[in-house]
């Protein structure tokens, strides 16, 4: 027995810590406007994110959010079920916090001479708060609010380089497409509400039968919801903002958006579709199995992302398209659900998003390092960097091979489980065989462009006349830490897999 019982709302502590950190940054900024004390600002951000990470992990270990039947302390429902803290929520809060911490540490150097220091870090923490809330949101309204809370600071973050055309252009594109998809998403919510009369996810599920005569309406609403998720996760058909936004924005922000924001988009998709629209009753009402939509989206997204990535000359755009490809992999988590199964495939998608959080953040942070050095943007500009910076390039090799899914790195494990899960799901739905085949083919294609970057830094002859490269502490620390996490995923994958699979099992049941 605990010495004292924490109140229920304390279960939201990871999100609360993030918002408190954002407020602390405001306080610092108001006491000392335009401060450039970047140790203080980046330090506060990193400490806040790490505290949120620590609490989220501690909660998971302590059994908060685990059903009592499984020996835990029970799923915490707050505000009449508007927010819920279960294993899935904590899992994704972990992902968001760890990415935020890495990006904050890296920004210490990258944003070193930027004019709006405090604004940058507080916007990042606010966005992180929104993403953490998305992980816990359990009603279409809270989901929408959390989504906007995450999106609005992100628009500002993308265009934080006010004098840089690319940054502003990327921000504008991101904003316009974001606004459009938000509108579609809200419209979808209204249709679902019209059909079922509820916004809270369990209540929607309970009232699906009553929506019998509005089956088409409900189906349209669901399709529109998928549009909203597609924007947030950078999946087809709302993926095209990603390359421009990532290319224009500072690389740490791109790392933040492509890892944390994508994971947050997926958690709401997972929650909405497993909780509000259970497969059998929904199919009975709308007449179509919604996994079909995700099967198509998964195949198209991963194929488009990988083929587009293979043709890029700009490293950041390559990573942006690769992040679209990985969204396609994670979509398999929803495509593989079936009436009586799918834990493995959904758990695998969650693992993939976690591992992706390390390896993709690390890869973008390497780009941040290259931008910090000012070596240029294309593959050729990266030629022979390993002669001058072997440690960082070694880490880059780890990220690239992990993204390509080569053992023994973290990315292999999650991809392996995704593949295993897809094959297992094929016993119930043989269309999943095509998805599994697409996964394999795409993995093979992706190896080409990931290996190309490794080849550039390790094998090609160095660009002549390059200045000596400095070793910025924060960026190096973040990159090495991300690389260590990607490698350490090997021995500790047991607990990660357990956590993800338990969370998926609870979410599906």
């Amino acid at each position: 027995m605990a010495v004292f019982e924490l109140p229920d709302w304390a279960a939201l502590a990871p999100a609360l810590i993030l918002v408190a950190t954002a407020l602390a940054l405001f306080v610092i900024d108001s006491i000392n406007p335009h401060t450039k004390n970047r140790s203080l600002l980046a330090g506060t951000t990193a400490v806040g994110a790490l505290a949120a990470l620590g609490v989220a992990v501690w909660f998971m270990v302590a059994g908060v959010g685990t059903p009592t039947a499984a020996g835990g302390r029970g799923v915490v429902e707050l505000f009449g079920g508007q927010l819920v803290v279960d294993q899935m929520a904590l899992f994704f809060m972990t992902v968001v916090s760890v990415v935020t911490a890495l990006v904050a540490v890296a920004s210490y150097d990258y944003m070193g001479d930027h004019a709006y220091q405090a604004e940058y870090y507080s916007l990042m923490m606010l966005a992180a708060t929104g993403m953490a809330t998305m992980a816990a949101a359990n009603s279409l309204v809270t989901i929408f609010i959390a989504l906007e809370l995450a999106s609005l600071p992100s628009y500002a973050l993308v265009s934080i380089l006010k004098d840089n055309r690319g940054s502003v252009e990327g921000g504008l594109k991101y904003f316009l497409i974001g606004a459009l998809s938000s509108a579609i998403f809200v419209y979808g919510i209204s249709l679902v509400y019209g059909a079922t009369g509820h916004l809270q996810l369990e209540a929607i599920a309970d009232n699906l039968q009553g929506a019998g005569e509005y089956g088409g309406l409900l189906g349209l609403g669901i399709l529109m919801l998928i549009g909203g998720f597609a924007f947030k996760t950078a999946s087809v058909p709302f993926h095209f903002w990603a390359p421009d936004a990532y290319e224009g924005t500072p690389a740490p922000v791109a790392a933040f958006l492509s890892s944390a924001s994508k994971a947050a988009g997926f958690v709401i998709a997972f929650r909405v579709f497993t909780t509000a629209f259970p497969l059998e009753p929904t199919t009975a009402v709308i007449g179509v199995d919604w996994t079909l939509a995700f099967i198509i989206l998964a195949i198209v997204t991963m194929t488009l992302g990988n083929f587009a990535a293979a043709t890029q000359d700009n490293v950041k755009r390559m990573l942006a398209y690769s992040s679209i490809g990985h969204a396609g992999y994670a979509l398999i988590g929803l495509a593989g659900l079936s009436a009586d199964g799918g834990e493995i495939v959904m758990g695998a998608a969650m693992m993939h998003l976690l591992v992706y959080g390390f390896m993709n953040t690390g890869a973008f942070l390497f780009v941040a390092l290259a931008e910090y050095w000012g070596v240029g943007r294309t593959f050729e500009d990266y030629n022979g960097l390993s002669n001058q910076a072997p440690v960082a390039c070694f880490a880059l090799g780890i990220f690239m091979f992990s993204l390509a899914g080569i053992p023994p790195l973290g990315g292999f494990w999650s991809k392996y489980f995704l593949f295993t899960g897809a094959i297992e799901a094929a016993t119930a739905n043989s269309a999943m065989l095509i998805v599994a085949a697409a996964l394999v083919v795409n993995s093979a294609i992706s190896l080409y462009y990931y290996a190309r970057l490794v080849k550039a830094v390790w094998i090609e002859d160095p660009v002549s006349g390059r200045d000596t490269l400095s070793q910025p502490t924060g960026l190096y620390a973040a990159i090495i830490f991300a690389a260590v996490l990607t490698v350490v995923a090997l021995p500790v994958f047991g607990p990660i897999a357990d956590a993800a699979l338990e969370a998926a099992t609870v979410a599906i049941s």
Binding site: G397, I406, P407, Y416, A426, T427, V440, K455, F493, G494
Partner: protein, 508 residues
């Protein structure tokens, strides 16, 4: 825990070497590599296993614990050795030590990274030959690619970039095919709850798969068999999947070639033996003729290609394709001498081709050319190195009292009398003809390079090779002769592990 110790020593050694100063990296790596070599030799003497690892055999140095629970399926850390894998582990560790010593001369940049990667490959190769859970095995299997890609790509010859990416893409695509096939098989085997190879093998032999996604049981088994065969065939490689091999070999630095020909190719044949020829006896019988045809074509076509080359390294590289064809023929014969001889030949070819690549490398270090047409009379200037090259060539041709003779003899003997393979006499006779071509191209190349008046089109001053270049070759030669004189040193344990395979449908 001996195998874990072996892996840990090698991995830690790789890390230590990676951060060591370049100046001492070579000596340091050699010193470190002696530890796993000594450990594995000790394991060789202390080996107490019997039977086949996948078929209820008594494993030596076994250790197992559960790792990850994935739904109903358990992934375990399961390692152990039987009579098939132990000789290959010893081959790996010994050959790595010798390869490291042979790279002291040619490798003169980024030494610490080079030797670190070599040790990293060694660790993964040990893993491939000891892991008995599919999952663990596949990790090691694929992890070999990254360091080999970098070894070829960074330290290789002029066309290294092309060769490295070709090697990587070919073998990786093949691995994915094999990987997908095996996972499908496991799900098709209704009541299997782990990826442990012994459990899968048992389930395969006691009824086979139930079927999967519309495919019936036997159709599924056939599809998986073919897909896995193709996947491994690229790694072996057999014609027509061999084109990555000469590129990779020619561009790779000598020590990488030694490991590539000596051990990496054996991964393919080892996996064929462990998977296809252990788990699918019915399919082996059904597909025996096409497989034997592929084997014979590899033997003859590989030898013809070697005959057409003027680059010494390319000659040795293509002859590997030919030698691997013998291994496949021995496997598909499915007799004790066939499969046992094939396994023996894996070890023997690893030693002999390693020796040949080292000898060619030593000559190249001195002359900076490998073209047969550029040199003649090398015996005058480099008598020791050239002597070893000639000895290696005779080993390749199957000179009695060298290990190549016993390996090929066992394969032919086993294949000729095979009851399972139809037209086995015809296939064997055709394959035997390959020996003639092998002798032809090797003697032809030697005659032009080694003998005659000394002539060399190069600006380099050609002198005798240093001791640390020739010492590893003498060690290899010693082992080759030892195994040729006394093949029972390893052949007894090999047949002990091979016999249970043949009880399930082979011609025991």
């Amino acid at each position: 825990m001996m195998i874990e110790a072996l892996l840990a020593v090698t991995l830690v050694g790789a890390l230590v070497t990676f951060v060591a100063p370049n100046r001492i990296a070579g000596k340091l790596a050699f010193g470190i590599s002696l530890i796993p070599a000594a450990l594995s030799l000790w394991m060789f003497t202390a080996f107490d296993g019997s039977g086949n690892a996948l078929l209820d055999g008594e494993l030596a140095f076994e250790s197992q614990f559960e790792w990850i629970q994935l739904g109903d399926y358990t992934i375990s850390w399961l390692v152990g050795l039987d009579g098939i894998s132990l000789p290959l582990v010893v081959l790996t560790t010994v050959l790595t030590s010798l390869a490291i010593m042979s790279s002291w001369t040619p490798i003169d940049e980024r030494e610490s990274q080079f030797y670190g990667l070599v040790l990293f490959i060694e660790a993964n190769l040990i893993g491939v030959f000891t892991a008995l859970d599919f999952f663990v095995w596949f990790i090691f299997w694929e992890a070999v690619l990254i360091p080999m890609y970098l070894l070829i790509g960074v330290w290789g010859g002029p066309r290294r970039k092309y060769a490295a990416i070709k090697f990587f893409v070919y073998t990786n695509v093949a691995s994915l095919l094999m990987f997908g096939a095996f996972i499908t098989l496991v799900f098709g085997l209704g009541d299997v709850t782990s990826f442990a190879l012994p459990e899968v093998a048992t389930a395969m032999l006691e009824g086979g798969p139930d079927g999967f996604a519309g495919l019936g049981g036997s159709a599924l088994a056939s599809v998986v068999f073919v897909a896995m065969f193709l996947g491994f065939a690229v790694k072996v490689p057999v014609v027509p999947f061999h084109t990555w091999l000469p590129d990779a070999h020619v561009e790779a630095p000598t020590p990488a070639s030694v490991l590539l020909a000596g051990v990496l190719l054996k991964m393919g044949t080892y996996a064929l033996l462990r998977f296809n020829f252990t788990m699918f006896p019915e399919q082996v019988e059904a597909y025996a003729i096409p497989i034997a045809a592929i084997a014979v074509i590899s033997v003859i076509y590989g030898a013809m290609l070697a005959l057409a080359q003027t680059d010494l390294k390319r000659i040795v590289a293509y002859s590997s394709v030919s030698s691997m064809g013998y291994v496949i023929l021995g496997l598909v014969a499915y007799t004790q001498f066939g499969v046992g001889g094939a396994t023996f030949q894996m070890v023997s070819h690893g030693l002999i081709s390693g020796l040949m690549f080292m000898a060619v490398g030593v000559i190249y270090n001195a002359t900076h050319t490998r073209m047969v047409t550029d040199m003649s009379g090398m015996a005058d200037r480099m008598p020791v190195a050239v002597g070893i090259l000639v000895a290696g060539a005779f080993g390749y041709m199957g000179l009695p009292l060298m290990s190549g003779f016993f390996g090929e003899f066992a394969i032919f003997f086993g294949a000729f009398g095979s009851g399972l393979l139809a037209y086995s006499q015809l296939f064997t006779s055709l394959a035997m003809f390959g020996i003639v071509i092998v002798a032809g191209y090797l003697l032809f190349a030697l005659q032009r390079t080694v003998f005659g008046p000394y002539h060399l089109e190069t600006d380099y001053d050609v002198g005798r090779a240093p001791l640390h270049d020739v010492a590893p070759m003498f060690v290899l030669l010693g082992i080759i002769i030892a195994l040729g004189v006394a093949p029972e040193l390893i052949f007894d344990m090999i047949t002990d592990a091979v016999d249970p395979i043949l009880e399930n449908g082979g011609d025991a």
